[in-house]
C-alpha cells in the first residue's frame, strides 16, 4: 500500500549484490568523498593575485549593465559590427539581464548577423554554401534513413517542420521583396 501507509519500498538488490555487479558501487557513499560537498568551500586554486591584471581593452568592449566595470579578462573574438552590432550594443547598454528585451534583442541581433554575414559572403571568393556547411551530405554516408525510421524516435514526428522553418523565412522575405518591388514599379508608372 505504498505510499498510502508508512511502509517503505523494498530494495530490489542487496548491498552485496550491487557491490559485486557494479564497479565502484558505494565508493562515494560517505559525503566526505564527494568533491561537490559542501557546495561552498575554500580551495587552493593556483591564483597568485588578489585581483587579476587587467587585459588591455582594444576598441569599445560591450558589457552587461549589471557589471560595475569591464571584467579584467574577456574574450576578444568577433567584435560588434554592422546593424547586428548596433542591435547587440543597444541590448547591452539599455537592458539588464533580468529584462526579456535584453535577450530578445540579442536573438534579433543573431538573426540579422546571419543575414548580414550571408550577404557579405556573396562578395567573397568563398560564399556561404548550404550543402557542405550544413553537413547534410552525411545523411548518405551515415545511414540517414536507417538511423531515423523504425527506431521509436520522438523527433521523427516533427521532422517535417524543419524544412518549413529553414526555407519559410527565406520565402517570406522573397515574397516581401517582390511585393515591395512591384508596388514601387507600379507607383513609378
Amino acid at each position: 500500500m505504498i505510499p498510502y501507509t508508512k511502509e517503505a519500498p523494498q530494495q530490489i538488490a542487496s548491498e552485496e549484490e550491487l557491490r559485486a555487479r557494479i564497479p565502484g558501487w558505494g565508493a562515494d557513499l560517505d559525503r566526505k568523498d564527494r568533491p561537490a560537498v559542501p557546495r561552498e568551500q575554500s580551495l587552493t586554486t593556483g591564483a597568485h593575485w588578489e585581483f587579476p591584471d587587467r587585459q588591455p581593452e582594444k576598441g569599445r568592449r560591450e558589457r552587461s549593465v549589471e557589471h560595475r566595470f569591464l571584467t579584467p579578462v574577456f574574450g576578444t573574438t568577433v567584435p560588434l559590427k554592422g546593424l547586428s552590432g548596433g542591435i547587440r550594443r543597444l541590448a547591452y547598454a539599455r537592458y539588464s539581464e533580468g529584462r526579456a528585451a535584453h535577450w530578445l534583442l540579442l536573438i534579433l541581433g543573431d538573426r540579422v548577423d546571419a543575414v548580414e554575414s550571408h550577404v557579405a559572403s556573396l562578395a567573397t571568393r568563398r560564399p556561404d554554401e548550404p550543402i557542405t556547411q550544413s553537413g547534410v551530405v552525411s545523411e548518405l554516408s551515415h545511414d540517414g534513413l536507417r538511423s531515423r525510421f523504425g527506431r521509436g524516435r520522438a523527433d521523427v514526428k516533427h521532422v517535417w517542420l524543419d524544412p518549413v522553418l529553414v526555407v519559410g523565412p527565406w520565402l517570406m522575405a522573397g515574397g516581401l521583396v517582390f511585393a515591395l518591388g512591384r508596388t514601387v514599379v507600379r507607383a513609378l508608372r
Partner: protein
C-alpha cells in the same frame, strides 16, 4: 590555423583564422590535440543561445599541448600536455574563492548570471573555443592541469566536461544509500550521471530517453534499467507505477534546452526560440520524483524564461539543485575512480572526425545518425 567557424544556424565550416595571441600575462596558447562536440554545442549550432556571433569558433571540451605562455604563468611550461576545464575562471573572485569556479565574476563582461565558457557565445564571455588547431587559455595557472601519463588522450578529453558534469549531477542529487534515481537523457552526461549514481550508493538507477541505441548503452555502460518515453503514453505515470506509485527519490535532468516529448514546448523553444529551453525533461523530473525528493539539473538552458512547472515543485516540497559544473573540483576524485577501474570515460566515444569534416560531425551528432553518442574532433588531421 584551421578552425571551425559558425556561419549561422545549422551551418559551420572550417576556415583559416589567425593563431590566437597572448592577451593577458596569465594566458597560455594551447595547440589542440583533441576536441569534442558537446550536446550543449548543439544549442549554439541551432541558434538558441543569444549573442552567438557568425565567425566564432565553438568547443569547450579540448586537450592539447602548451605552445606559449604569458609572462606571469608559473604552473605550466611549453610542451606540457594539458586538459582544460570548460570553465574560464580567475580563481580569486568572491565566487571562485568559495569553490564556485563556474560562477566566476572576473571573466565574462557580457553577463553576470553565467561565468566564462570557451567557445560558448558572447553570453558566456566571447571566447573562441577549441574546435581548432590553437586556442587561447586565460588564467593558465588556475584552470588547466598537466595530464597524468597513465591517462589516455580520449579519457582526458572526457574529463573536461562530460564526465565531471555527469558526476556533479549525481552529487547534486544528494543520493543516499538505496535511493531510486531516475536520469532523463542518455547522452554522455546522462550516462555518466547514471554510472556515478551507483558510486553514491543508489539502489536503483533508471534512464529515460527516446533513442533505443542510447538506452542500450545505458544498460551496458551504466548498468541502468531503461525506458523509451516514446513507448509510453505518459512516462510520468509509468515511472510512478514502477516505483510503487511513490516516485523516485532523486531525478536528474541531463537533457536541457532541446528536450523532445512535447511538441508545443519543442516548437516554442528549439524552433521559434521563444523560451530559454524546452523544459520537458525538467517537468518530467519534477512530476516523477517523490514528494520531498531532489531534482538535479545539469542539462543546459538558455538565459530566457522557460515554462517550468514550478507550482508542482513547490507543492511537492522538492529540493531543486543545479549549476554549471566547477570541473576542476571534480578531477582529483574522478581520477581516482578512473585509475581504480571504476569506469573508462572514453567508452562513450563513438566517432572520430577530422576537423576539416566538422560540418558533417555536427549534422551526425545533431540528427543522431549512425548511433552517435560522442563525437571527437581531431585537428591534426586538418
Amino acid at each position: 590555423m584551421r578552425a571551425m567557424v559558425y556561419r549561422g544556424p545549422y551551418k559551420v565550416r572550417v576556415e583559416d583564422k589567425e593563431v590566437p595571441a597572448i592577451e593577458h600575462p596569465n594566458d597560455a596558447i594551447v595547440r589542440v590535440a583533441l576536441a569534442a562536440i558537446c550536446g550543449s554545442d548543439l544549442h549554439l549550432y541551432h541558434g538558441m543561445m543569444p549573442d552567438t556571433r557568425v565567425g566564432s569558433t565553438f568547443g569547450h571540451e579540448f586537450i592539447g599541448v602548451v605552445e606559449e605562455v604569458g609572462g606571469s604563468v608559473q604552473n605550466l611550461k611549453v610542451g606540457d600536455r594539458v586538459m582544460v576545464p570548460f570553465n574560464v575562471y580567475c580563481g580569486s573572485c568572491y565566487f571562485c574563492s568559495r569553490g564556485l569556479y563556474s560562477n566566476c565574476h572576473n571573466v565574462n563582461p557580457n553577463a553576470t548570471a553565467v561565468g566564462g565558457i570557451y567557445g560558448y557565445s558572447h553570453t558566456c564571455g566571447g571566447y573562441d573555443g577549441g574546435q581548432s588547431q590553437f586556442v587561447r587559455v586565460p588564467f593558465a595557472d588556475v584552470g588547466p592541469m598537466v595530464i597524468p601519463e597513465w591517462l589516455s588522450d580520449e579519457d582526458a578529453l572526457m574529463m573536461t566536461d562530460a564526465l565531471p558534469t555527469g558526476y556533479f549531477g549525481a552529487q547534486l542529487g544528494d543520493i543516499e544509500q538505496g535511493d531510486t534515481v531516475v536520469v532523463f537523457g542518455a547522452g554522455p552526461v546522462g550516462l555518466f550521471a547514471a554510472r556515478s549514481a551507483w558510486f553514491m550508493g543508489a539502489g536503483r538507477v533508471i534512464v529515460i530517453d527516446h533513442l533505443d541505441y542510447r538506452l542500450q548503452k545505458a544498460r551496458d555502460f551504466a548498468f541502468a534499467e531503461t525506458y523509451n518515453f516514446n513507448e509510453h503514453d505518459d512516462v510520468v505515470v509509468h515511472l510512478k507505477k514502477i516505483t510503487d506509485y511513490l516516485g523516485a527519490d532523486v531525478a536528474i535532468d541531463a537533457v536541457g534546452a532541446e528536450a523532445d516529448g512535447n511538441l508545443l514546448q519543442h516548437i516554442t523553444s528549439a524552433k521559434l526560440k521563444l523560451q530559454g529551453g524546452s523544459p520537458v525533461a525538467l517537468n518530467w523530473a519534477i512530476d516523477s520524483v517523490r514528494k520531498g525528493g531532489t531534482v538535479s539539473v545539469v542539462g543546459a538552458y538558455g538565459p530566457m524564461f522557460s515554462a517550468v512547472k514550478f507550482g508542482d515543485a513547490m507543492n511537492k516540497g522538492l529540493t531543486l539543485r543545479m549549476n554549471q559544473t566547477p570541473v576542476k573540483r571534480q578531477w582529483p576524485r574522478l581520477l581516482e575512480h578512473v585509475q581504480n577501474g571504476h569506469l573508462k570515460p572514453s567508452d562513450l566515444v563513438t566517432h572520430r572526425i577530422p576537423l576539416e569534416h566538422i560540418s558533417e560531425g555536427y549534422h551526425i551528432f545533431s540528427s543522431k545518425l549512425d548511433d552517435c553518442i560522442k563525437p571527437v574532433i581531431v585537428p591534426e588531421a586538418a
